[in-house]
Structures are given as structure tokens and as C-alpha cells.
């Protein structure tokens, strides 16, 4: 904190008072006392004050606020000088004149700062009381008795949703137990201004979008996540006192007036909820460890790691999860009937097989039929008239069956996202190839592959970014880069009569062309692989996925004749969850390259992964590519 000379606070205060023009008669006397006391108590260095200003210590040693909007600060140096900002805040609170063209007096614009300063200054009683109708109106509608941290689960079909999303819900006691749809939600999101995909990525990564806080009814989020995107919502109830909640609400109002640069990787939707919670309870240290990357599931774990902060978790299932659960209670013929009703234009009451059922079974068939009907036509509102007619037919028929309560849902196998293994991974291994003995070290910041424990993730999904593998060849005493994958995504969604999306994969990065069986340091190339196909699922052990993907593969590098190769082929594989702690993955690939460096590659790979503890794993890999063979034993640690 800058040490000003003794008389400076008086002059500073006087300057502000003079600058603001119309002041109350007692201001010149009150302000210097406030500022003197505040400096004497070094309030501007207190954690609570720094949290209110979102101050972070940068790598160059100085303090700077994450908030880059000058309108958030009352002092021109506010962004980097907590003392100047405090003095300016006190001056503003004492004058009650609106600043910067607002309609509200400063205490209404900065209620958290006002309330904290008043509490910590005995001369704080000199700060005039003001009435804040907008603030009070908003607070009375939000009115939380408790908060929940809600996690919207992984969604592979949208790049910005692959890591999940978190927001806060403001729970009102009067909405318990089953009116929680009416609660409000706090959401931090980027104001996206472009539909261009490349610009979107560029702006998102470089802070080109403004991030803003909004509050909106929970039911809007439920429509978006549970229905339109068919994502589960995991609701973690937080334990916070009413004073802590009040601080959070006051500060949220302050944040609502400003915006921050939104960065996909670190200062994203999940990150910004943490400083908000810290304002409520400054003893919490949640955001400190999130520097280079903030993965939503990691923020969840950070909150759960605080003793006593989370009191429980509830699952709000997606539309698809509910649909499949309801269908599982039907007999095969009832399920076929439901399917028929959902896809045809018949009135259920004209179908003999339907009419013959007892009323409660009719209700269950209609409910499943409607689930499937809605899933197929989608949740958008402008449907063709024949779809609307069938919609009406199904619902009119259902409305005529009274008193048939729907059995409650049950999802015993659903695992909350915080119980998954941690997001980053380091590995160390030793292997033997047809060339030599080697050691390998690997590091990967995010997040999940097919052979790791799927609990807490979408099974059959792979999301890897910046996976680096380095090897050391014992025979030639040479270290080299084996692999640097930029992005490796795979989504094996098992085919179900009702739910079937194509399985796909995308993989790009630097790698060694093992199939060419040359010195690895001179076989490095940049590759891109895309695949699409289908997956089937069975439950002979815990779960087996059998998949086949047609793929296109290309690589550029000096290792290739003509500098590149382009071709295609396919991959087939089996991924078995043999036991809770044991996965087996067998995969074979055939690729033919007719263009560039002409040739073919046949690959065979068998991986066995054993979970020793949630975050410790051992793997054995047997791999063969054309004439090249390799065996590898790895120990992986998730952190």
C-alpha cells in the first residue's frame, strides 16, 4: 500500500470533496477522520478489501485487479492501488452525490464496500444512510436463504461445453421442496458477438469477449441444459451464514455493473464464481490455485475440499436419462407401443393394444411415448403442424387418465463429477520396442481418455489437450519427443433404439511415425485424423463398447516422401470395463495412403489399465504398427 505523507489524506479528501461540488455541510469534517482511521487500521491491505476489488498479485510482483473496466473504480489508479481506491470510495460515500453519471448514490452502487467500511470504522457512523430502491427490489426477488453450486455435465457436441459449466443457484426456503425451478441463478458468461468460428476461438482465448454476471430464473437453465442439451445438473448445496450470503449479494450487485475480460482457459464461467464465494467468507481460499487453467470440475473439487462448505449433492437428470429410466419400467411390447405412438400420427385411443392396457400402464406408455416424441422432434417451438397435432393427441389422451402417479426416477449408477479422477496427469513408464529399451515421461493438463476410469465422466468419451510424451532411447542414449497432441477427442456413443448419435473422433498434433520404423527423432510429423462411425454397448461384465469408425488421415513432415501423406481407412475396437478397477481396450486400425508417401499402415493395440486409487493408475500397453513393436508399462498420477 502506498505510504502517503501525513497531511496528504486531508488534502486528498478535500480535493475530492471540492471536485464533487455539491456536498453536505458536515462532509469536510467527517471525511478526513474516516480516511485517517482507515489508514491507521491499514484497511486497504486487508484481505476483505482486496477481495472486493478482485486484486491479484501478478507475476511481476504488483497488485492488479482482474477487473479491467475503469468504471468499476472510483479512483483513476483504482485498478492497481487499493489505498487510493479506498480513499476515493470513502469520499464518494460521504458526499452521496452520484458519480460518473449514475442515477444511484455511490452507497447503492457499491453496497458491499459501503457496508464493510462502515463496519470497520468507528467513525463509520458519519457515512450517511441512503435508500437504494433498485438494490432492495433486486435483493427481495433473489432473496436467498442458501446457495447451491450447480454443475452442468459434459457435453461433447459443443466445444465450449466439453468441460462442463458451473453456476450458482440462490435457494429460497419458501421454494422447498419442489418449487426450486422458481429460484434465481447467478451466471457468469461471455457476451459473444460473433458467429464466426475462428474469431470465436481467437476472441475467447485472448480475452476479446466481455464477461458479465446475470441473474435469471433457474427454469431457464433447466430448459437449456436438461432439455435442449440433455445434460445432467448436479446441485451441490453450500453452507454459508446469512451474513456471508448478504455480503455475496451486495458484492454481486457491484459486479453486475461491470464486466471483465473473459478467457476460456482460466478466467472463465467457473473461475469467477470463486472470488464471489470468497467475498462471502474471506477465510476461503478457492481461486488461488487457478492460474493457467480453470477446469469446472476442478473448481468443484476446490469447493468440496473446504471442510463443511458442501452439505449435500442432488442430481437433476437430463431428459434422456429420465426417458431411458422410464422406458426401463415398460415391457418390451409396451416399449414398442410407446415408440409407435411417438413416431406415428395415430390417436392412442384408436389402437386396440393400447386400449386393452389397464389405466396405469396406459399412462406409463403415454409418458414414455411423449418422452421419445419430444426427444425426436426437439425442444424448439416452431414445429410443423402435423407434429403439433400429434403432440396434442398424445397429451389429450394422457389428460384423460387421472390419478396415475408416475413412479419416481432412480439412478443408482450415476456418479457425481467431483468423484472422477483429477484433471491433470503425469506419467512415467518403461518400455521395450523392436528398436530398444526406453523410458517415457508424459504430462497432460486435461482431461480424460478411453482407458481411464470413466466414473464421473461420460463413458466412452475422450477429451485430451496438450498431451506431451518424451522418451529416452537407452541403446542410442538419445532423448526425443514421441508425441505432442494438441487435441484428441473421441465420442463413442452407444447405439440405442431411441438414442443414437454417430460416434466420432478428431486427433491432431505432432507424433512419431512409428509405422515407418525409423529413428524417432527424424520421424516426427504433424498429423490430423478424423473418424466417424457407430458404437454398440453390452453388459456382459460391467460394460463393453464395440465400435467401428471410418477415418481420414493426413500427415505432413520431412519423414514422408514428397513431405506428406493423405489417406483413409478404418478403426475397430472393443473397450471393456471388466471390473470397477480394470479396463481393457483392444483396437485395430488399417490405413491406406494413396497420395503423397504411398503406403499402408496396420496398427494393433492392447491396453490394460488398473486403478490403484482414484488418482493412481497402472497401464500396460502392447502396440504394433507394421513392423514396429512396443511394450510399455506406465504409472499415471492424476493431480
Amino acid at each position: 500500500m502506498a505510504r502517503l505523507g501525513r497531511p496528504a489524506p486531508f488534502f486528498l479528501g478535500a480535493l475530492f470533496v471540492w471536485g464533487l461540488g455539491t456536498c453536505r455541510a458536515e462532509s469536510p469534517a467527517v471525511l478526513p477522520a474516516l480516511i485517517a482511521e482507515a489508514h491507521a487500521k491499514t484497511l486497504c491491505a486487508r484481505r476483505e478489501w482486496l477481495l472486493l476489488l478482485h486484486m491479484r498479485r501478478r507475476w511481476w510482483g504488483k497488485l492488479q485487479s482482474d477487473i479491467d473496466d475503469p468504471a468499476f473504480f472510483l479512483s483513476p489508479q483504482g485498478r492497481t492501488d487499493p489505498a487510493a481506491e479506498m480513499d476515493a470510495t470513502l469520499a464518494a460515500l460521504v458526499s452521496t452525490t452520484t458519480v460518473k453519471g449514475d442515477e444511484e448514490p455511490p452507497a447503492c452502487r457499491y453496497p458491499a464496500r459501503a457496508s464493510w467500511l462502515k463496519e470497520h470504522l468507528s467513525s463509520g457512523s458519519g457515512i450517511p444512510e441512503v435508500s437504494c430502491p433498485r438494490l432492495e427490489n433486486w435483493k427481495s426477488q433473489m432473496n436467498p436463504d442458501s446457495l447451491s453450486l450447480v454443475f452442468a455435465s459434459y457435453y461433447m457436441n459443443n466445444p465450449s461445453s466439453m468441460y462442463g459449466h458451473t453456476f450458482l443457484r440462490l435457494n429460497q426456503k419458501k421454494h422447498l421442496p419442489d418449487n426450486q425451478l422458481l429460484d434465481y441463478v447467478v451466471n457468469y458468461a461471455a457476451d459473444v458477438t460473433t458467429k464466426n468460428g475462428v474469431l470465436f476461438a481467437v476472441y475467447g482465448l485472448t480475452g476479446g469477449y466481455r464477461g458479465r454476471f446475470s441473474t435469471l430464473p433457474y427454469y431457464m437453465k433447466v430448459q437449456q441444459y436438461s432439455n435442449m442439451e440433455s445434460r445432467d445438473l448436479w446441485e451441490y448445496t453450500l453452507t454459508l451464514s446469512s451474513g456471508e450470503i448478504s455480503s455475496i449479494m451486495n458484492h454481486l450487485w457491484e459486479l453486475g455493473h461491470t464486466s471483465m475480460a473473459y478467457y476460456f482457459l482460466n478466467k472463465n464461467c467457473s473461475y469467477q464464481l470463486l472470488p464471489l464465494l470468497e467475498v462471502g467468507d474471506p477465510s476461503l481460499h478457492l481461486s488461488d490455485r487457478f492460474w493457467v487453467k480453470t477446469i469446472p470440475a476442478d473448481t468443484l473439487r476446490a469447493v468440496l475440499a473446504q471442510p463443511g462448505l458442501v452439505s449435500g449433492v442432488d442430481l437433476r437428470p437430463s431428459h434422456v436419462r429420465k426417458m431411458l429410466d422410464r422406458r426401463s419400467r415398460l415391457s418390451d411390447s409396451e416399449a414398442r407401443l410407446a415408440e409407435r405412438l411417438a413416431t406415428s400420427r395415430e390417436d392412442p385411443r384408436t389402437i386396440q393394444e393400447f386400449v386393452a392396457l389397464p389405466a396405469d400402464r396406459q399412462a406409463m406408455v403415454l409418458d414414455s411415448a411423449y418422452d421419445y416424441f419430444r426427444y425426436k422432434v426437439g425442444f424448439n417451438r416452431d414445429q410443423p403442424s402435423e407434429v403439433q397435432e400429434q403432440d396434442q393427441r398424445l397429451l389429450v389422451a394422457r389428460s384423460q387418465i387421472q390419478g396415475a402417479p408416475s413412479p419416481p426416477f432412480s439412478f443408482p449408477l450415476a456418479v457425481p463429477p467431483d468423484q472422477a479422477h483429477k484433471s491433470a496427469r503425469i506419467g512415467s513408464g518403461v518400455g521395450l520396442s523392436s528398436r530398444s529399451l526406453f523410458q517415457e515421461v508424459s504430462i497432460r493438463p486435461a482431461m480424460q481418455d478411453l482407458e481411464a476410469d470413466p466414473a464421473g465422466f461420460v463413458p466412452g468419451s475422450q477429451l485430451e489437450m496438450f498431451d506431451l510424451r518424451l522418451r529416452f532411447d537407452d541403446k542410442r542414449q538419445k532423448g526425443y519427443l514421441e508425441d505432442f497432441t494438441l487435441v484428441n477427442l473421441e465420442s463413442l456413443s452407444p447405439w440405442d433404439r431411441w438414442v443414437h448419435s454417430p460416434s466420432w473422433k478428431v486427433n491432431t498434433g505432432l507424433s512419431v511415425a512409428r509405422d515407418l520404423d525409423r529413428d524417432p527423432e527424424s520421424s516426427l510429423y504433424y498429423g490430423l485424423n478424423l473418424g466417424s462411425g457407430f458404437t454398440a454397448q453390452s453388459h456382459l461384465w460391467r460394460r463393453e463398447l464395440m465400435y467401428g469408425l471410418a477415418e481420414a488421415d493426413t500427415g505432413v513432415g520431412s519423414v514422408f516422401n514428397r513431405g506428406y501423406r493423405l489417406g483413409g481407412g478404418g478403426t475397430a475396437g472393443v473397450l471393456v470395463e471388466a471390473a470397477r478397477f480394470w479396463r481393457i481396450h483392444l483396437e485395430s486400425t488399417f490405413l491406406h495412403y494413396p497420395v503423397g508417401d504411398v503406403g499402408s499402415t496396420t496398427k494393433l493395440r492392447l491396453v490394460q489399465a488398473f486403478t490403484l486409487t482414484r488418482n493412481v493408475e497402472v497401464r500396460s500397453t502392447l502396440e504394433r504398427q507394421n513392423n514396429y513393436r512396443e511394450t510399455l508399462l506406465t504409472l499415471n498420477l492424476y493431480y
Binding site: 464466426n196 446475470s214 441473474t215 430464473p217 431457464m220 437449456q224 453486475g256 426437439g378 397429451l395 394422457r398
Partner: protein
């Protein structure tokens, strides 16, 4: 208080309809975009991820966004609550009104002003009145609310 809410509902819907521009009754609310869902077959939007988990109105629900249409500083205006709720959740609500049970219809009953003890009976009643409230496949949320206020004004005991 609850009866006032129902009357306010009728009062709220009629001027809303009168002021609305375009085909859709909620268009005057500034919430018309809510009708556009995340159509999964809109490949470009989907693959390029043009949403960043903020689909519903960073602007409309911005905390200090001021007053406009149906919202005020990130909250739905009290007098418009039932209307906005019915419109945003129309399909889920309609579905559960036909079932005579569910979280959406329960919350709707609560917005209409039914006390906890009266809610189950009201929900059952709504199921029986389904064909009155939704006479055609094209019934809109505003039309449903209009029929609903008439029905409820004849049965005030349902709200309690």
C-alpha cells in the same frame, strides 16, 4: 394477495397482447429470442460453439440492465412472472398439466398463488381442464393464460 395476483395476471396478459409486435405475444417483452432453441441440427452453431453457456440473455438478465419489457435488473417483473414462466416452459408445462403431476406444473400452481395445501387439488383440476385450456394444437401460452384466468375466477376456492 393471491387473488390480486390472478387479476394482475389477466391485466398483464391483455395489454401485453395489445402491445406485442410481430406474431408472437411475447415479442413485446423482448424475450422473443427465447423461442429459438439450440437446434442441434444447426451444425455451424453447434460445431463452432457459438454459445458460451450464456444462451439466455446476458443482456436481458444483466444484473444492472435496468427496466425493459418483462425484466428489471436481472429479475422477471413480479406482475409478469406467470406469463414469462408459462411462455418459457410452455411445452414442459403443457405436458405436466396433461399428466396431472410434475415439478413444472407444481411451480406454476405456486406462481398462480395456490397455497401449499391447495396445490395438489389445483394440479388435478388443471389436468381435468386440459382440453379447455388447450383447445387446439396451436394454443399459445397467452391464450392458455387467458382461459385459465377465466376458469380460476369461477373457482376462487382452488387458490385458497
Amino acid at each position: 394477495m393471491k387473488k390480486l395476483l390472478v387479476l394482475a395476471l389477466v391485466a398483464g396478459v391483455v395489454p401485453g397482447l395489445a402491445l406485442a409486435s410481430g406474431n408472437h405475444p411475447m415479442a413485446g417483452c423482448g424475450l422473443g429470442y427465447l423461442l429459438l432453441s439450440n437446434k442441434d441440427n444447426e451444425k455451424i452453431t453447434q460445431v463452432l460453439g457459438a454459445t458460451t453457456n450464456g444462451t439466455f440473455g446476458t443482456q436481458t438478465f444483466g444484473i444492472s440492465s435496468g427496466t425493459s419489457g418483462c425484466t428489471q435488473d436481472g429479475a422477471v417483473k413480479l406482475v409478469r412472472q406467470a406469463e414469462v414462466y408459462a411462455e418459457v416452459n410452455f411445452d414442459s408445462l403443457r405436458r405436466e398439466m396433461a399428466m396431472g403431476q410434475g415439478e413444472f406444473v407444481n411451480s406454476f400452481a405456486s406462481l398462480l398463488g395456490a397455497s401449499d395445501s391447495k396445490r395438489p387439488a389445483l394440479v388435478q383440476f388443471l389436468q381435468k381442464q386440459y382440453s379447455v385450456l388447450f383447445p387446439s394444437a396451436q394454443t399459445s401460452s397467452a391464450e392458455m393464460l387467458s382461459s385459465l384466468s377465466q376458469v380460476l375466477s369461477q373457482h376462487p376456492e382452488l387458490l385458497g
